[in-house]
Amino acid sequence: MPPLKMNAVAWGLLVVAGLAAPFLVYPVFAMKILCLALFACAFNLLLGYTGLLSFGHAAFLGTAGYVTGHTVKVLGFQPEIGILAGTATAAALGYVIGSLAIRRSGIYFAMITLALAQMVYFMSLQMPFTGGEDGLQGVPRGKLFGMIDLLHPLYMYYFVFAIFLPGFWVIYRTIHSPFGQVLKAIRENEPRAISLGYDVEKYKLTAFVLSAALSGLAGATKTLVFQLASLTDVHWHMSGEVVLMTLLGGMGTVFGPIVGAIVVVSLQNYGANIGEWVIVITGTIFVICVLAFRRGIVGELAILFKR
């Protein structure tokens, strides 16, 4: 199959599966997958298409969660305003962290993002408005546009899906845009991109802010789903988990991170009753994947279909 046709099929599957999901699985589970899938796709825009490994993406997910939680719970705004505020804050934070981190590359870039994300974590732990160890609990889902009661699981689900789809489309479009072409060129050969007259730092920073904003969108939505903003989402574990989801599903593939998110979230959910072992199992799968299927699930499948 030609790649374009394959993409069309994948989009069709995605929409159908997305619409049917709440009737097949527990809606909150499906919503968690959608949020983390969007997060992983946003992360993949940097890792897979710009060649930048950020190890601090939890900062954007978590910060947006806190801001959304605060806007809705304490300030009493409607959910859509809360999500906008969370996303905007993540974008601004992305601009700050990105500006500092893109001055270095490779492992140093990863370390700077990790260090700055740790600062965000400790601030979240100490500052009063985040609720510290307790987090922000009981965040009301509220009424969308003052009309639709989001406490209803199905309404909430389709609201989340209606956020996920355009979010994912923005990433898809970015990858397949003139801007995306330059990003790929930077990923492939940065000195050459410079020698062709591209200010690579500006392109990297733009990609970083986009990725941070979309991660924030995912975090903001997640807070409404679970009615909770907590330290889990700013912890470095979460930064690691998004790397895992992206590599497992297929770095640099459009749909890979979604598959990765489904696998990881399913393992965590259905494996919860076997306790700590789920971490060992996830780790083993990760090791097998890195050793045997470097391209990730979707990457390997794409190669199979090409033959």
Binding site: G180, Q181, A185, P191, I194, S195
Partner: protein
């Protein structure tokens, strides 16, 4: 129209922690000429390239392009003035198609390179021009091949096509025939001759027969300094140059 010289360096020097890689190099590249930079390994040729293209900041000295002082510019800025370099290792974008490689060189002119909301189909207007460039380097039939699958010599040709896409005034070629078989060398030499019409070329090259056929002027470097300069016939008889070359050949 500026002066006779398109590129001039004034006592350019570069030190790395006390090691002088480039020492007081004053180079003048004539507009419209092919100028070769030769010398034994470690003579500082590539460092001179990196200085001219701003990939390295000079320790002292000045660089003028078309009469404008570009010493303090950023590399991308200098590139946009029309100073485009190649690299020793072939500089292509391996996982893009051959056509996409050339389009990266062309697309900046559209001014949409930050437009992440536009479809990449908007780049298709560049395809005709890209195909012309690929034809010029004999790669048109490979347009939709992923670049990583091209043989080495073809990659270098693609690199030249991408460089041409920028319509550069000054092309800097770093060892364009390095690592090539006989046949490929011949093709690249023809290519350089073809594309150098109406342009200025400065190249680093080890293959002396390539240098002899192509260049109008030769600058010989040794240990970071200029040893001799002039047309091939003159330079090849210079006793110091002979010593430098024979000396290294004996080792």
């Amino acid at each position: 129209m500026g002066s006779e010289y398109l590129l001039e360096t004034h006592s350019l020097s570069k030190e790395f922690r006390g090691f002088v890689a480039v020492n007081d190099v004053s180079l003048r590249v004539k507009r419209g000429s092919i100028h070769a930079l030769i010398g034994p390994n470690g003579a500082g040729k590539t460092t001179v390239f990196n200085l001219i293209t701003k990939f390295l900041p000079p320790t002292s000295g000045k660089i003028f392009f078309d009469g404008i002082d570009i010493t303090r510019e950023k590399p991308a800025q200098t590139a946009r003035r029309g100073v485009i370099r190649s690299f020793q290792i072939s500089a292509v974008f391996p996982h893009l198609t051959v056509l996409e490689n050339v389009r990266i060189g062309l697309q900046r002119s559209l001014g949409t390179s930050f437009h992440f909301w536009k479809s990449e189909k908007t780049l298709d207007v560049l395809n005709d021009r890209a195909m012309e460039l690929l034809e010029a380097v004999d790669l048109a039939s490979f347009a939709f091949v992923t670049t990583v699958e091209l043989p080495y010599g073809r990659k270098r040709a693609l690199e030249i096509a991408t460089t041409l896409a920028m319509d550069p005034e000054l092309m800097l070629l770093d060892e364009p025939t390095q690592g090539m078989g006989h046949e490929d060398v011949g093709r690249i030499v023809e290519l350089i001759r073809k594309v150098s019409a109406n342009r200025t070329v400065l190249m680093v090259e080890h293959n002396l027969s390539v240098v002899a056929t192509l260049s109008d002027t030769i600058t010989v470097m040794q240990r970071g300094s200029i040893l001799a300069e002039g047309p091939y016939i003159e330079v090849s008889k210079n006793p110091q140059v002979l010593e430098a070359y024979v000396g290294t050949a004996d080792e």
